[in-house]
C-alpha cells in the first residue's frame, strides 16, 4: 500500500488504529486498508476532512465518536510545539477570549486555547519542563468569570434582543464549556509530545460511556449514561423478541402455509407454525440505592422501566436498610430521570435508625412484607454490592426468596476480585443465588439480554 506521504503516514495510521482498539473499538485489517485508501483519496492537507474520512472508514457506531475525536487529536495534531508567538499576558488573553466568545469564533477559540496552555499550563522547574496541565490553565485563566462581560458585549452589539434574549446565558455557557474542552485537548497534545503518544492515548482519553465503571462514574458521566437508556432498551427488546420467536412452537398456521405453498404449485412443502401468544414473565427488582451504588441502581431501574412492556408485571423495590416499593415513582420517573434518586429518597421509607445499608434487614423485611410479590413465574434481580456494614447477611431470607421465585440473579457492580473483602458478604450470597459481576453498561446489557426470561 502506498500513500502520497509514504511510510510515515502508514505507521501513524496503524498506531492510531491500535490506540482505538485499546479503547475497545473493534477495527479489522480491512477497515485499516479502507482508511489508508481514504487518506490517499483525501490527502493530508485538510485536517477536518481527514478526521471525517477516517471516522467513516474506521467507526461502526455513533457511541465510538467520543473516543475517536480525542485520539485523533493526539495522532494527527493541529500543530507541533508551541504557538508562534508567546502570549502577551493574562489580561490580554482574557480580553481576546471575551471577544472570541462574544463572536462565537471557533477558529479563534482554538488558537486561544493553544496560547493559553502554552502561557499558563506549563509546570515544573522551568515552565513546561515537566508537563502541561489543563486544570492549571483554566484555574489561572478562569474563563467562567468572563460570563457577565460576554453577555453584556453581546447585548451591547444588539446580537440578542426580544424573546431569544433568554437563551443567551445558556449559549454563552456552552461556548465557555467548548473552550474548556479545547484547552483540555491542547494540554493532552502537549503532554503527548513529551511523554509519547501511545501512552497518553491509552491513559488520558476517557472510555466510551458503556465501558465506564458504574462505581467510579461522575455526575456528568452518569447523565450521559442515562441518555443511552432508551436506545439500549430498544436494542434489548428486539433481542428478547428474537429469543421469543426462536422459542416458539405451536400448531400449524393454515393460512400462511397455503400462501407459502403457492411457490411449490400448491403443495405445502413447508409448514408454517402459528406464533404462540407469548406468556409474559414477571419481574421483581430489589435495588440498593445507598450512596455507593446508587448510580448503578438508578441506571438499571430506568433500563428495566424502559423494558416494562416486555413483561406482564414489573415491580421495583428500593432499599438502604429498610425496603419500600418504588414502582409508581419509577413510572413517573421516565420524564425526569435526573430527579429519580432524590424522589425515591424523599418519598419512600428506606432508612430506619441509621443511614447505612443493611442487606440482611432489608431482605428480611422484603421476605416478610412483600413475600407474595414473588411467585413461580417471577424472576428476581438483586442489585447491590452486598456490603452489609458488618451486619447479619440474613441468608435464610434469601433462601426463602430463592425458593419461591423462578430464578434469582444478583448483579454486583464491584469487580469480582473484591468480593468477600472487608464487609462484603458477596460469597455467602453467591452460594445461594447466581451472582454476576456487572461493572459497566456493556456488561449490564449483555447480562440482561442473557438472563431476562422470555
Amino acid at each position: 500500500m502506498t500513500t502520497p506521504a509514504g511510510a510515515g503516514v502508514t505507521e501513524r495510521l496503524t498506531s492510531f488504529v491500535a490506540a482505538l482498539r485499546a479503547h475497545g473499538v473493534r477495527i479489522g485489517t480491512g477497515e485499516t486498508v479502507d482508511a489508508a485508501q481514504a487518506v490517499e483519496a483525501l490527502g493530508l492537507a485538510d485536517r477536518e476532512l481527514l478526521r471525517e474520512g477516517l471516522a467513516a472508514t474506521l467507526l461502526h457506531g455513533p457511541g465510538q465518536r467520543t473516543v475517536f475525536d480525542p485520539v485523533f487529536d493526539l495522532y494527527f495534531p493541529r500543530g507541533v510545539g508551541g504557538p508562534e508567538q508567546r502570549t502577551a499576558g493574562r489580561e490580554d488573553l482574557r480580553h481576546r477570549l471575551a471577544d472570541a466568545l462574544t463572536a462565537d469564533d471557533r477558529a479563534m477559540l482554538a488558537r486561544l486555547a493553544v496560547e493559553a496552555v502554552d502561557g499558563f499550563g506549563g509546570y515544573g522547574s522551568s515552565p513546561g519542563s515537566d508537563g502541561w496541565s489543563s486544570y492549571q490553565t483554566l484555574e489561572r485563566l478562569r474563563p467562567q468569570t468572563l460570563f457577565a462581560r460576554v453577555r453584556d458585549n453581546v447585548r451591547g452589539q444588539g446580537g440578542s434582543s426580544g424573546f431569544t434574549d433568554r437563551l443567551l446565558e445558556d449559549e454563552i455557557r456552552r461556548r465557555i464549556d467548548a473552550f474548556r474542552a479545547l484547552v483540555a485537548a491542547e494540554a493532552r497534545r502537549r503532554v503527548a509530545e513529551r511523554r509519547g503518544r501511545d501512552e497518553i492515548a491509552r491513559r488520558a482519553v476517557a472510555p466510551t460511556a458503556d465501558r465506564l465503571d458504574f462505581l467510579f462514574a461522575g455526575k456528568a458521566q452518569l447523565a450521559e449514561l442515562r441518555r443511552t437508556v432508551s436506545p439500549l432498551a430498544r436494542k434489548l427488546a428486539t433481542r428478547l423478541a428474537a429469543r421469543r420467536r426462536r422459542a416458539s412452537r405451536g400448531s400449524i398456521d393454515l393460512r400462511r402455509t397455503l400462501r407459502g405453498s403457492l411457490s411449490t404449485g400448491g403443495v405445502p412443502m413447508r409448514p408454517v407454525l402459528r406464533r404462540r401468544r407469548p406468556v409474559r414473565p414477571e419481574l421483581v427488582l430489589l435495588c440498593d440505592v445507598s450512596g455507593s451504588v446508587s448510580g448503578f441502581s438508578d441506571f438499571t431501574m430506568l433500563l428495566v422501566q424502559a423494558l416494562h412492556d416486555q413483561f406482564s408485571k414489573v415491580r421495583v423495590f428500593a432499599f438502604v436498610n429498610r425496603i419500600d416499593e418504588v414502582t409508581q415513582l419509577l413510572e413517573h420517573g421516565t420524564a425526569d430521570p435526573e430527579g429519580l434518586g432524590a424522589r425515591i429518597e424523599a418519598e419512600a421509607t428506606l432508612t430506619g435508625y441509621h443511614g447505612s445499608s443493611d442487606y440482611g434487614m432489608a431482605l428480611g423485611e422484603f421476605a416478610e412484607r412483600y413475600g407474595d410479590a414473588v411467585g413461580p413465574r417471577t424472576t428476581v434481580f438483586v442489585l447491590g454490592d452486598a456490603r452489609t456494614n458488618m451486619n447479619d447477611p440474613n441468608l435464610p431470607a434469601v433462601r426463602q426468596i430463592a425458593g419461591q421465585a423462578r430464578r434469582v440473579y444478583w448483579l454486583n457492580p464491584e469487580q469480582r476480585s473484591r468480593w468477600g473483602t472487608g464487609d462484603s458478604a458477596a460469597p455467602d450470597y453467591a452460594e445461594l443465588v447466581e451472582m454476576h459481576e456487572c461493572r459497566t453498561a456493556r456488561q449490564l446489557s449483555a447480562l440482561v439480554a442473557r438472563l431476562l426470561p422470555v
Binding site: Q37, E52, A56, P62, T164
Partner: protein
C-alpha cells in the same frame, strides 16, 4: 462521479441538499472506494433525502427498498411469476417438458425486486435501503452478498453480477443494532443535528420567505431546545415546519405568545412541551 469533497458539497447544494463537511466527505469516499454507505441518525435530519440528492446529482435512477418487519427474499430480491408460468405451461400443450422447463425459468418470468433491479442493467443507479433496522436479521444475511460482491444468485439462472456498481445508501434509526458483519462492509456516517450556521442556511433555502432576523431566532430557539433533556428532540424537519408555520402566521418576531402557541410543531410529547415551556420561562400552558 465526484472529483473532490468540495465538488460533492457544491453539486449536492445545487439539488437543494446542504451537506455538512462530514456528509460530503463520506459521500465522496463512498463513491471513491465503491463501498455502501450506512447512514444513521435521529429521524428527520435528511438521511433519505441524502440518497435522493445523490441520485439527482448522478442522474441515476433511484431504486428504493423500504424495509419493514417481515420483508423477505421475494420482496427484496426476486420472485418467479407463478401465474404467468402456469399460463405458459397450459398454453404450450404440445411441447415437450424440456422445452417448457427451460422457457418458464427465463427472464421473462422473473419479477425483479429492488436489490436485483439495482445490480442489473448498465444505467447508473442509486440503491436506497431505507430503515434497514426494521427488517429482520435474516434479511441482513441476504444483503451481505449483494453489498460485498454486488451479485445475486438465482438458482435457475445462475449468478447475476453487476456490470455497473450502484451507489448504495442504507439508512437506520438504530431501533435495532445492525450486525457487525453488515457494518463492516459499509462506510459509517452519523448525521447529527447541524450546527447553527448550517441550519440557518437550510432554513433560508427551504423557507425563503422568512426574514433574516427571524430565521436566526428560530434556529437559536431550536438549539436551546436540543440542549434540554427531552424525550424527542426537534429535528431539522421540525425546524423547517416551524419556520413555515411562523411564515404562515405572519409572525414578524418571536414572542412568548407565538412560541407558546406553536411549540406543538416542534415538540411531539406533552411532557416535552411542559418542560420546554418551563425552561423557556413561558407562562403556564
Amino acid at each position: 462521479m465526484f472529483t473532490s469533497v468540495d465538488d460533492v458539497s457544491a453539486r449536492l447544494a445545487e439539488t437543494g441538499y446542504l451537506a455538512s463537511p462530514a456528509v460530503a466527505t463520506t459521500v465522496f469516499l463512498a463513491d471513491r472506494l465503491g463501498k455502501p454507505l450506512l447512514v444513521e441518525g435521529p429521524a428527520g435530519v435528511g438521511k433519505t433525502e441524502l440518497a435522493k440528492a445523490v441520485a439527482e446529482v448522478a442522474e441515476a435512477r433511484l431504486v428504493r427498498l423500504q424495509c419493514y418487519e417481515g420483508v423477505d427474499e421475494s420482496r427484496a430480491l426476486y420472485e418467479w411469476n407463478h401465474a404467468k408460468q402456469l399460463l405458459r405451461i397450459s398454453a404450450g400443450r404440445d411441447e415437450t417438458w424440456d422445452e417448457t422447463r427451460t422457457d418458464i425459468f427465463s427472464e421473462e418470468f422473473l419479477l425483479t425486486r429492488p436489490l436485483l433491479t439495482a445490480i442489473r442493467g448498465d444505467d447508473p443507479k442509486v440503491l436506497l435501503i431505507d430503515e434497514t433496522d426494521k427488517a429482520d436479521v435474516e434479511v441482513e444475511g441476504l444483503l451481505l452478498e449483494v453489498l460485498s460482491d454486488f451479485q445475486v444468485t438465482v438458482p435457475e439462472l445462475g449468478t447475476i453480477s453487476a456490470t455497473r456498481r450502484p451507489f448504495v445508501v442504507l439508512t437506520s434509526n438504530a431501533s435495532r443494532e445492525l450486525s457487525e458483519a453488515l457494518r463492516r462492509r459499509c462506510l459509517f456516517l452519523h448525521i447529527g443535528f447541524p450546527d447553527e450556521e448550517l441550519e440557518r442556511r437550510i432554513v433560508r433555502l427551504k423557507v425563503p420567505g422568512l426574514d433574516e432576523a427571524l430565521t436566526r431566532s428560530v434556529v437559536r430557539v431550536v438549539g436551546a431546545l436540543r440542549a434540554m433533556d427531552l424525550r424527542k428532540l426537534p429535528s431539522v424537519a421540525e425546524t423547517i415546519d416551524w419556520a413555515r408555520t411562523l411564515l404562515a402566521l405572519g409572525a414578524g418576531t418571536l414572542d412568548e405568545t407565538v412560541v407558546r402557541d406553536t411549540l406543538g410543531v416542534l415538540l411531539k410529547h406533552q411532557d416535552d412541551v411542559l418542560k420546554a415551556a418551563a425552561k423557556l420561562d413561558l407562562d403556564a400552558l
